[in-house]
């Protein structure tokens, strides 16, 4: 009986400790970020390329089809009320406020997050981080900060691209496939989308960018430096990022409504 209690105590204690370490890690990254941006922009640019530019294809393809399927579903349901023209509104609000940021964050975790944590985990496993430490270079500053900042910069841009391509996909499906009037499609959208909706989407994309990049870097840095440990770290990156993004999405929406 006491051993069960002790186990619970130990687990809770360990959870609190990890959570605290995570906060401190976040603060450390944030503290170094502005200087990294000003003094070594080249390092950040390389990471924006790795996490952002290289994720573009998957983001665009997925965005197109998500927009398209929203138009199909929206049309099918709106047609029952003779309100097919509102399909633009439905698609735009769904993409801008919810699906754009959330799906982009999930794709980001799968494409860029795993790449980040496995790269950092492997650098740890092959002593590259120790080697830097021995060359009097702080690996947190030199390796983790540029990757974190790069991810944070990439995410809102990826979300914007995803949403635009999604609208374009919806336009293609609605106008060419379902023959909704193109003028009505855009006009209805413009009448009901408020600048506040876009602000909400941007805010979410910034939060998700911070969370997804932070988790990827954290998992990689704390990976057990073996092949198995690195593999586990990449899996954890995807799973934890997905959970965190969905929970945060709910919380932000609840607060903003």
């Amino acid at each position: 009986m006491t051993s069960v209690l002790r186990d619970i105590y130990n687990n809770v204690f360990e959870f609190v400790r990890t959570f605290g370490a995570f906060q401190l890690f976040f603060l450390r990254l944030v503290r170094h970020s502005p200087r990294m941006l000003l003094r070594r922009p080249g390092l950040v640019i390389k990471q924006v390329y790795n996490t952002g530019a290289l994720s573009l294809v998957i983001i665009m393809v997925c965005g197109f089809f998500v927009g398209g399927v929203l138009a199909l579903q929206g049309y099918a349901n709106l047609a029952r009320f003779n309100a097919e023209d509102s399909v633009g509104t439905v698609v735009a609000l769904a993409l801008i406020k919810e699906l754009g940021p959330v799906i982009t964050a999930l794709l980001f975790a799968g494409r860029a997050g795993t790449a980040l944590s496995s790269e950092i985990g492997l650098m740890k496993a092959t002593d590259q981080l120790s080697a830097m430490e021995m060359m009097a270079v702080n690996p947190v500053r030199r390796v983790l900060v540029p990757r974190f900042v790069g991810g944070v910069i990439s995410m809102p841009l990826l979300v914007a691209v995803f949403t635009c391509i999604g609208l374009f996909g919806a336009d293609v499906v609605a106008v060419y496939l379902l023959s909704v009037d193109v003028g009505a499609f855009w006009q209805q959208m413009q009448l009901s989308v408020d600048i506040k909706d876009i602000q909400e989407g941007i805010f979410k994309s910034i939060v998700f960018g911070i969370v997804a990049s932070l988790l990827a870097v954290w998992e990689g840095y704390n990976a057990i430096p073996t092949a198995e440990g690195v593999g586990r770290a990449t899996t954890r990156t995807v799973v934890i990022t997905a959970i965190a993004v969905l929970i945060l999405d709910f919380m932000i929406t609840a607060v903003m409504l």
Binding site: M123, D127, Q128, A131, M132, E133, M134, A136, V137
Partner: protein, 271 residues
């Protein structure tokens, strides 16, 4: 302890344990300026741990490590980094940065710590690569290199800041005889030509004998024997003989601690 005595590194009563496992219990040793010092010992005696302690990647629970007369446990991060710039370390697998090519790997410490112009960096890097015979591989990626080549590039990188102390972690492991010969020659030449102090961790008795001025045989958390290679060869302690001549059984038992053999084989089933 004076800074300019002939002892560059002194380790006093070092105690270190990881979890319940005691790795060092009262280790004492000194490393003399300008010599090649070797740490030898059976695997699992914590030789690599010792290197990490000397470079303060780990901190001892008790005892002290003095480098140039300064207790390194007392240094703050800035002072520590200043000290580390005077160390060059060669990791077991080279530990080259995989996102940079060979040239940029060697240039890395210069770019991080100096404000040299690109031309000057190019000059220094090519000189160091030439010294290890890999000037031609400057544009290659570390993943394209063989183990021996990677280690030579890592050596060029370790030297690029002109360190006072070069540390080699298992430099002879897993090399073909030619690469091994190259590394052995490089270790000796760097030491003598540049006036560097070298520390070599290895369990390769033959190679260490050709390269080291002084060897420490570490076993059971302490220095079991020390002296020049010849002195160690001649020593008549059982442990030293077992290690130097590679005998399977002796003070270091062939068998890991286990319950009685016959009992384990027969006992379980008969229950």
């Amino acid at each position: 302890m004076e800074a300019d005595s002939e002892n560059l590194i002194e380790i006093r009563d070092l105690m270190y344990s990881r979890g319940a496992r005691v790795i060092f219990k009262g280790l004492n040793l000194t490393i003399k300026r300008g010599e090649v010092t070797a740490f030898m010992g059976p695997s699992g005696t914590g030789k690599t741990t010792l290197l990490r302690l000397i470079t303060r990647q780990l901190i001892p629970q008790q005892g002290a490590i003095y480098v140039n007369g300064v207790d390194i446990a007392t240094l703050n991060q800035r002072k520590l980094y200043e000290l580390r710039q005077r160390f060059g370390m060669l990791f077991q697998n080279g530990a080259l940065l995989t996102d940079l090519n060979v040239f940029e790997n060697v240039a890395f410490p210069l770019r991080e710590h100096t404000k040299l112009t690109n031309r000057l960096i190019r000059h220094v890097v090519l000189t160091k690569l030439h010294a290890v015979g890999l000037r031609g591989a400057a544009d290659m990626s570390p993943t394209e290199l063989s183990g021996g080549m990677a280690r030579r590039v890592a050596l060029a990188r370790a030297m690029v800041m002109d360190p006072d102390i070069l540390i080699y972690d298992e430099p002879f492991v897993g090399l073909d005889p030619i690469s091994m010969g190259v590394i052995v020659r490089l270790v000796r030449r760097m030491n003598d030509a540049l006036g560097i102090t070298s520390i070599v961790v290895s369990h390769d008795v033959a190679e260490v004998s050709t390269v080291a001025d002084r060897s420490y045989l570490i076993s059971d958390g302490k220095v079991a024997a020390s002296g020049s290679p010849d002195e160690l060869q001649a020593a008549n302690s059982e442990l030293v003989r077992q290690f130097m001549h590679g005998m399977a059984d002796g003070p270091v038992a062939f068998h890991f601690d286990a319950p009685d053999y016959a009992e384990q084989l027969l006992g379980r089933d008969s229950e």
